[in-house]
């Protein structure tokens, strides 16, 4: 059974179908991508996987658990889905801007730690121990991503490309099994993109997780992805390896427009 199984989902906004009858599978530790022209519904798919949107039809199953379903009671809250092991980054970076870089990552440990409002009073030693352990783990993530020197800077003050990497760091702190990256290369230059590719590979190896990304940069997608799903107008038009997708006529049509008019 695949790690993430999206069965026949649809999302309708006020009569407009943003995503229709879409199927998608992500295997464990696989790097896959969703591509498609602007407004094809890619981010909407992410929002349904993370529980931000409720599906109009179909189910999303993660690791054997139904996380989004047309029947409202079966849909999980986004923070519960994070606990299950799905983390994401955002197209338009959404860091906690006035928090330090380190605190941003530490916030990511929220779902895997326990300290509450009271044990900091009646059991400060234990609370401090957990806090220290999390700080150590957060520093390890920052070291791994090469951000350790920036740990005390405000997240909103560091360079744009670095902010994208930090978002990955915050997502990693939630110890995900599946990492969703929403246009991770947007606004990056060529060198930064090369670094990003390396980082994604290293992240997968070190944390043993699957990566699903939405990206416009074809070079990066073709380079990195083991499986590519192409969507247009909210529907899947092709799925396969980079070579298979590139050879698909419908895909060429979607990207280049009809050749016969």
């Amino acid at each position: 059974m695949a790690l993430l199984e999206i069965n026949n989902i649809s999302k309708v906004f006020g009569g407009l179908t943003a995503v229709g009858d879409l199927d998608l599978k992500v295997e464990e530790t696989q790097i896959s991508a969703i591509i498609g022209p602007n407004g094809a519904g890619k981010t909407t798919i992410f929002n349904m996987i993370t529980g931000a949107y409720h599906v109009t039809k179909g189910t999303v199953v993660f690791d054997g658990t139904v996380i989004n379903d047309e029947k409202a009671p079966n849909a999980m809250k986004p923070h519960k889905i994070v606990e299950l092991g799905i983390a994401r980054t955002f197209q338009n970076i959404r860091l906690f801007k006035k928090m330090s870089v380190l605190d941003n990552v530490m916030t990511g440990f929220h779902s895997v730690s326990k300290n509450g409002m009271f044990n900091i009073i009646y059991n400060p030693a234990k609370a401090k121990k957990e806090e220290e352990a999390n700080r150590e783990k957060a520093l390890e993530i920052l070291r791994f991503l090469g951000l350790e020197e920036l740990k005390d800077a405000n997240a909103g003050d560091i360079p744009y490309g670095t902010q994208r990497i930090l978002e990955i760091g915050r997502a990693l702190a939630t110890s995900p099994k599946l990492l969703l990256l929403d246009e991770p290369a947007a606004g990056m230059n060529k060198a930064e993109k090369q670094d990003l590719i390396k980082i994604i590979h290293r992240v997968r190896e070190k944390y043993n997780l699957a990566v699903l990304l939405v990206e416009h940069d074809m070079e990066l997608v073709m380079d990195i992805s083991e499986e590519i799903t192409v969507v247009n107008f909210g529907r899947r038009i092709a799925c396969g390896t980079a070579a298979e997708v590139q050879a698909n006529e419908e895909v060429i049509e979607a990207y280049l427009g009809r050749s016969d008019d």
Binding site: F13, T43, N47, A52, Y53, F90
Partner: protein, 289 residues
């Protein structure tokens, strides 16, 4: 009895609507509730009263003058306070309007005293008997004037050029700027008109409630409640919200408890914010990630 209460409710409701229109206009252009709106109304009322009592003017002369003064006050507030606030920070904007409200209210207490003062009504207050219902010409006048002002405002925003510019500047500042409209000037005007309307509402309310320095708080809040109930930013919504609120209040006071009269509108507000925060006439917008 029931119809009688609904009539009373409609009178108050039309005044809430008039206040709510001002709130809604400012909200649209500023993105912020103006917490000093009620206080502008109160100051306008006192200016009018002063013109009548001290200046010895006729009511019908004093009112337009007071409206002009209030509009000037609105202009000053926009110019001196709100324009200086960073628009990105909504907390600061809100605190600034709360601060203005504090200054105006305490200023009024010094200038005009804390005792309620009788305010002359424009129309007669002898009740007329129409089909067995008692209604004063003052009530009829209040409803008619409020409705006329709101309808006039609607035409101003949809038919008159400057009104259309103001409408565009508040609903879509970017394209307004591109079309060469001075958005901040339009915001300035919006504030003035809103303050003028508040003054109109004030002089119509004061015969019922007396002119008091603390009249602003409850009526200001009710204006917000009416604007939100109808759907903020929506002129007709403000009218509808005001009327509904007035009727609910009148019925609640009669059939449940008159002591808790003021609480009913806030309870309505709670329910609206809980059930449909966008109000009756606005559609729901799903937020995008």
């Amino acid at each position: 009895m029931l119809v009688q209460q609904i009539l009373n409710g409609l009178t108050n409701g039309s005044l809430y609507a008039l206040m709510a229109v001002g709130v809604t206009m400012v909200y649209k252009s500023l993105g912020m509730l103006n917490f000093a709106h009620g206080d502008v109304m109160m100051i306008g009322t006192f200016i009018c009263l002063t013109l009548i009592n001290v200046g010895g003017l006729n009511v019908l002369v004093a009112i337009p003058l007071a409206v002009v003064c209030s509009a000037a006050l609105g202009f000053c507030l926009e110019r001196l306070v709100l324009r200086r606030v960073e628009f990105s920070s909504f907390v600061n904007l809100l605190i600034a309007t709360v601060g203005v409200s504090y200054v105006l209210r305490n200023g009024a207490m010094v200038l005009f005293g804390t005792n309620p003062q009788k305010f002359p009504s424009i129309f007669s207050t002898t009740p007329l008997d129409i089909f067995g219902f008692k209604i004063t010409p003052q009530s009829i006048g209040t409803i008619c004037v409020s409705l006329a002002l709101i309808i006039a405002l609607h035409f101003f925003f949809t038919k008159v050029k400057i009104g259309k510019c103001m409408e565009l500047a508040s609903s879509n500042p970017e394209s307004a700027t591109m079309m060469g409209i001075n958005v901040s000037l339009m915001r300035f005007m919006t504030f003035g008109i809103s303050a003028g309307l508040a003054c109109c509402a004030g002089v119509l309310i004061a015969p019922y409630t007396y002119a008091r320095a603390d009249m602003s708080a409850t009526i200001g809040l009710k204006a917000f409640a009416a604007a939100i109930l109808g759907g903020i930013g929506n002129l007709w919504g403000a009218l509808l919200g005001g009327l509904i609120l007035g009727v609910v209040e009148a019925l609640g006071a009669t059939y449940i408890s008159s002591a808790y009269r003021d609480a009913f509108s806030f309870i309505v507000l709670f329910i609206v914010l809980f059930v449909k925060p966008t109000g009756l006439l606005n559609r729901k917008i799903e937020n995008k990630l």
